[in-house]
Amino acid sequence: MSVSHSHLAALKPGHIAIIASLNLSPQFHQRLLALGFRQGRQVTMLRRSAFAGPIHVRIGTTEVMLRRRDAQNVNVTLVRR
């Protein structure tokens, strides 16, 4: 198991990572917080849509889609490929 630092948009389908930090506007930060995106929580990349479209991730029991450019501001530590 290798540990590496990355951001959420860079994960490949099936990858599991731990959220390291959120680097977002206060509004968006709060929204993601309410959806369960907190430092230290585990997030699973489920799929990335075609044509650089949004990504689909699971955090806890919640599944969420977000745009790639927003996901780039969520820093993660990869724990499993």
């Binding site: 929204r31 309410a34 075609a50 029991t61």
Partner: protein, 601 residues
């Protein structure tokens, strides 16, 4: 009279609970000081009569979104006896934060853990009593979808509500929400303490039905074709069932007119009789004719929305729609607009960002609806050979797409959508039959209440324009509409639209179905074949195509304008939609007509 607010996160079945709790008797009410409508109902709970208000679903009490500010303003201005908090049991790991925030408000509250029926599937076990100890409020597991058919939770919830309401003599108002705020760190600590103590979530739930379905429905290659197939199916269901129903309804209305109304009104002066039957009755008929389509549309919408597929459509179409300043859901609504614009515009309610919603509403009226299709089928058959006609029709569909695209690109700056898109993709579920019916019925009720006066007034005005002054032939050059037709000639002549066709366009403001009827009155032919001949005699194909382009692009019908105004709550926006569509229609027809003439056609 006591007062209860229902509060919860989005996608927790809050409206399902509200509908069940109030027996779907709720109506949309304007709440003092609020710019948005809130659903409310008055009911008897135990021995107490109470107003129950359904607040918009929010993620955070301190939030900045439009919905969150509505809730803040509501709480700061309205004294309450009780807050009912609805959360999704499956997502309790994050949703409890809202309950913790509400606890700080010091208003009596009851926490309902909804969708308890789904919790075992996701490996979520909750100890309600322990949570109640932490939160110092009653906590009850239940299922709003199945009510008292699922455990004793729903009845227990009603009992708890009645009891708390009975005990609470005086309403409490929050002076300032920010005084009761709690910082993220402390919130996280408290949340973790409760989760540790009272909640167990097994991690072995990754192969649910939803995961397996998503493998196909969100597949990078298969996803989009499956989505288009699903939309096509929905479109077919709504309009193959809706059109005959609509025809049946108007047949029935005509029958009543001929069999009952006309004999009854025979003794009346013919002007008054014409006004009552041709104006008022037919006006009401125009409104009523929309009911079957709206009903069927919202049957399907209830399924698409509650099943969780609508959020998935946003995932699939977002890459393309984002470049137009829209998102995947706008695309679904535009597609629906090809049947009828009215329910499609009503459907934009699922979008929470006002900019996104306005832009979508501006684009939808360019979808070539079935009413316009009738006009085009008639005109293309009358003026083109059977070999060319389908191609002509298809070209109009292309113009319809192009107009929507151009409009989105031109106006996306005016209606910025700053909301970063983050959407929950809820697990797939199927709504109960009752949920579907309640949803559709509520929509029909709203449509009738709000659009009635507007459309009927419009129909009556058009009728008067066509029949005043009283001593000239209806719809002739001497009537008011005839004079308007003459007056707008300088504007419409460059498009090849003569004064007779101009009057038909004025008829078309009411509804595109009326255009054909209007042409029939003007050209004095009673049957379709005669009318086709008469038109073909008077205008050539270039004029006809220019007329069709104009008909395609200028505002679809009065109902659409009424719905645009009601949904945007802005007369300015409705005016913009009308003016822009007429401008685009004029420019397009002008370019086409003059271009074709220049090329020697």
């Amino acid at each position: 009279m006591k007062r209860i607010a229902v509060l919860g996160m989005p996608n927790t079945g809050k409206s399902t609970f509200f509908n069940r709790f109030t027996g779907a008797t709720a109506s949309v009410g304007n709440w003092a000081g609020m710019t948005v409508d809130l659903m409310m109902a008055t009911l008897k709970i135990g021995e107490v009569t109470a107003d129950v208000i359904d607040l918009p679903g929010i993620y955070d009490l301190r939030g900045f979104s439009e919905d969150e500010m509505v809730v803040q303003r509501f709480l700061e201005s309205t004294p309450l006896h009780l807050i009912i908090i609805i959360l999704n049991t499956v997502q309790i790991d994050r949703q409890l934060s809202l309950a913790l925030q509400i606890k700080r408000l010091q208003i009596p509250a009851i926490l309902l853990l909804n969708m308890a029926d789904e919790a075992p599937k996701f490996g979520v076990k909750v100890n309600a009593e322990k949570i109640a100890q932490h939160l110092e409020m009653p906590v009850i597991s239940m299922s709003a979808k199945y009510g008292n058919q699922y455990g004793k939770g729903y009845d227990a919830a009603i009992d708890a509500i009645a009891q708390t309401l009975h005990q609470q003599e005086h309403p409490i108002c929050v002076r300032n929400i920010s005084d009761c705020a709690i910082d993220d760190r402390q919130l996280a600590t408290e949340l973790d303490a409760i989760l540790q103590d009272a909640v167990h979530i097994s991690t072995q739930h990754s192969n649910t039905l939803t995961t397996r379905l998503d493998r196909f429905l969100l597949h990078p290659i298969l996803g989009l074709p499956l989505f288009f197939a699903a939309m096509y199916l929905m479109f077919q269901v709504v309009y193959t069932l809706g059109t005959p129903l609509q025809a049946f309804l108007s047949f029935g209305l005509d029958w009543i007119k001929v069999a009952a109304l006309e004999p009854v009104f025979t003794p009346f002066p013919s002007f008054l009789k014409g006004f009552l039957i041709g104006g008022l009755y037919d006006g009401i008929g125009t409104v009523v004719a929309f009911i079957p389509v709206i009903l069927l549309f919202f049957f399907c919408m209830a399924i698409v929305e509650d099943s969780g597929y609508l959020a998935r459509s946003a995932f699939l179409m977002d890459a393309f729609m984002e470049r137009l300043g829209l998102d995947g859901r706008s695309f679904v609504m535009s597609l629906m607009g090809f049947g009828c614009n009215v329910p499609a515009i009503m459907g934009t309610r699922v979008m929470r960002s006002p900019g996104l919603r306005m832009l979508s509403m501006l684009v939808i009226p360019f979808s070539l609806c079935s009413a316009r299709l009738n006009v085009f089928i008639f005109m293309t058959t009358a003026l083109f050979t059977p070999q060319v006609a389908p191609g002509v029709l298809f070209s109009l569909y292309l113009f319809s797409f192009a107009a929507a695209l151009v409009t989105a690109l031109l106006f996306k700056g005016q209606f910025p959508n700053h909301d970063p898109l983050v959407l929950e993709l809820p697990p797939y579920r199927f709504p109960t039959i009752k949920q579907i019916f309640v949803r559709a019925w509520v929509e029909v009720k709203h449509f009738l209440r709000w659009s009635n006066q507007f459309i009927i007034a419009g129909v009556v005005i058009i009728w008067l324009l066509n029949h005043l002054p009283m001593d000239v032939p209806p719809a002739s050059k001497q009537t008011l509409s005839g004079m308007i037709g003459q007056a707008v000639q300088p504007l419409l002549q460059p498009l090849g639209i003569n004064s007779q066709l101009a009057i038909a366009l004025i008829f078309g403001f009411v509804a595109k179905e009326v255009v054909l009827g209007g042409l029939a009155v003007i050209y004095g032919a009673s049957n379709d074949a005669g009318l086709g001949g008469a038109i073909a005699h008077q205008i050539d194909w270039v004029q006809a195509y220019s007329f069709m382009l104009f008909t395609l692009l200028y505002i679809p019908c009065l109902s659409t304008i009424a719905v645009l105004k009601r949904e945007s709550k802005s007369a300015k926006f409705a005016t913009l939609a009308v003016v822009w569509s007429i401008a685009l229609a004029w420019i397009t027809s002008f370019l086409f007509y003059q271009g074709a003439r220049l090329l020697g056609f």
